[in-house]
């Protein structure tokens, strides 16, 4: 049973999501922050810039760079030199970092970056979906998705603790939905400095760039060596599965707040229909589940917090006794007509003895509002699948046919 979330209301303040994240970064005592503005991420680095100007982040360099490619490249050197590093980006900015993402991961540098999820161009959209970070799933970054402002704020400290573990040393993206979380004001407990100092030890890497003891990072690997580096990265990801759970529990012990480890569950115990989703949509789904449960519809939620590493065993454990799985994806793999959560959930079930049908819906692309009614209709479809089997495996949930 998941621990009960204990929010200390006397500590709560009403702040913008971006401010809560910037504040969380500050309490993690970073040594290098690289910043390049891009909507809807900009407020985070602006707030950090203000903290720097006010002298509130000691022993830290704030680097203004000329592109996102430079933003992450600057952190490659900084992290290799032993600094705790931070940046934030979104959408086109993240896609511009693509090449460097592999380098950070390949060199095993535990950089933490907030991704403020936004749709990708073209056509230009500054609004939210999760196509940007999902498109980077194979770069070797841990990916965590947050449901609300409190979670994304707290997730920052968790991400450093996971990434910097000596057995892991993989960078992490903490993902929050653009505008829906980044620009919204909510009551939150800002990450407490004294507790963070207790929770998150200083970063002490075993190997750093140091002129007194010269090393090369990410050196050339010919065909005799390359595969073994990839194997070690995958091994680290597998170890991260347990570490993400452990860190969530350690966080709960110190702060009293908990949002799930790899996954979280809501009313899944006797659920026939289990909805799987990531990010802020989870709140909407919980509201709907409460409403449907009053009408005796046996529906539950499986919130996926960790998309990489993918929590295959944790997911199987929750869904094994259900009758249908519904995946909701704010992304699409064009040419497969499926979102990533749909594809991957099916993939982990295929060679198992769990025979539960999986249906996928792509929803909320380019910031389209996800209404309770839309999800309710999806649940109706799912009930039909239990009776008659799958008719459409994966589809857009909220297409406007009149525009086509």
């Amino acid at each position: 049973m998941a621990p009960e979330n204990k929010l200390d209301k006397s500590k709560m303040v009403v702040v913008e999501g971006s401010y809560a994240v910037a504040h969380a970064v500050k309490t993690c005592r970073p040594n290098v922050i690289s910043a390049y503005p891009i909507t809807p991420q900009t407020h985070i680095v602006e707030d950090l810039s203000q903290f720097m100007a006010d002298g509130e982040i000691p022993n830290c360099e704030y680097i203004n760079v000329e592109s996102e490619f430079s933003a992450l490249s600057a952190l490659v050197g900084s992290s290799a030199a032993g600094a705790r590093c931070y940046s934030a980006t979104t959408s086109q900015g993240l896609e511009l970092m693509h090449e460097v993402l592999f380098n950070v991961s390949g060199m095993r540098l535990p950089v933490v970056m907030t991704i403020v999820n936004r749709a990708v161009s073209a056509p230009i959209s500054i609004w939210n979906d999760q196509q940007d970070s999902i498109s980077q799933r194979d770069t070797g970054w841990i990916q965590l998705y947050a449901e609300n402002i409190q979670e994304i704020s707290d997730m920052t400290a968790q991400a450093y603790k996971i990434s910097e573990d000596k057995d892991i040393l993989m960078p992490a993206m903490t993902c929050m939905d653009g505008f829906i979380l980044s620009h919204v004001y909510e009551p939150v407990v800002l990450l407490e400095q004294d507790l963070t100092d207790e929770f998150l030890p200083a970063y002490e890497p075993e190997r750093i760039l140091d002129p007194k003891n010269p090393l090369s990072f990410g050196a050339f690997a010919d065909p005799n060596y390359y595969a073994e580096f990839r194997y070690l990265q995958e091994q680290a990801m597998q170890k991260a599965l347990k570490k993400i759970e452990d860190v969530a529990n350690e966080f709960y012990d110190i702060y009293g707040r908990y949002y799930g480890g790899l996954i979280d569950e809501y009313r899944t115990d006797d659920a026939d229909i289990i909805i799987m989703a990531m990010g802020s949509i989870v709140g909407t789904i919980k509201d709907l589940i409460d409403k449907l449960r009053d009408r005796n519809v046996k529906v539950g939620l499986l919130k996926v917090r960790a998309f990489r590493p993918f929590p295959a065993e944790a997911i199987k454990e929750v869904i094994k006794d259900s009758k249908v799985i519904v995946t909701l994806d704010k992304n699409i793999s064009l040419g497969l007509n499926e979102g990533a959560l749909c594809t991957e959930t099916k993939s982990v079930l295929y060679n198992s003895d769990i025979r539960v049908p999986v249906i996928g819906y792509m929803i909320g692309h380019g910031g389209r509002d996800i209404k309770v009614d839309t999800i309710e209709k999806i649940v109706d479809d799912a009930e039909e699948v239990i009776k008659t089997g799958i008719r459409i495996e994966s589809q857009f949930a909220d297409l406007k046919e009149e525009l086509l």
Binding site: G106, M107, R108, L169, S216, G218, A219, F220, D222, F229
Partner: protein
Amino acid sequence: MKILPGGACEAGTTRVNKTGGWRTFKPVYDYDKCIKCKLCELLCPDMAVNPRDDGYFEFDYDYCKGCGICANECPKSAIEMVLEEK
């Protein structure tokens, strides 16, 4: 040689990682033509040409990658590139 996560390595690892295996063509001296001008030693990008006591030179095949610069630049055409057969 064990690998370290992240491909971190100290300087001088090519002492154990012999790169001569990359070679397709192998340089061979014709000492009858060689005039000991030293160009091959100076131009070798891999320091795989070593001087001998008698003033001539020899190749260190553990590291020569067979780039052929020595053969190309030799003013007396005293170096022939021979296909490696393994």
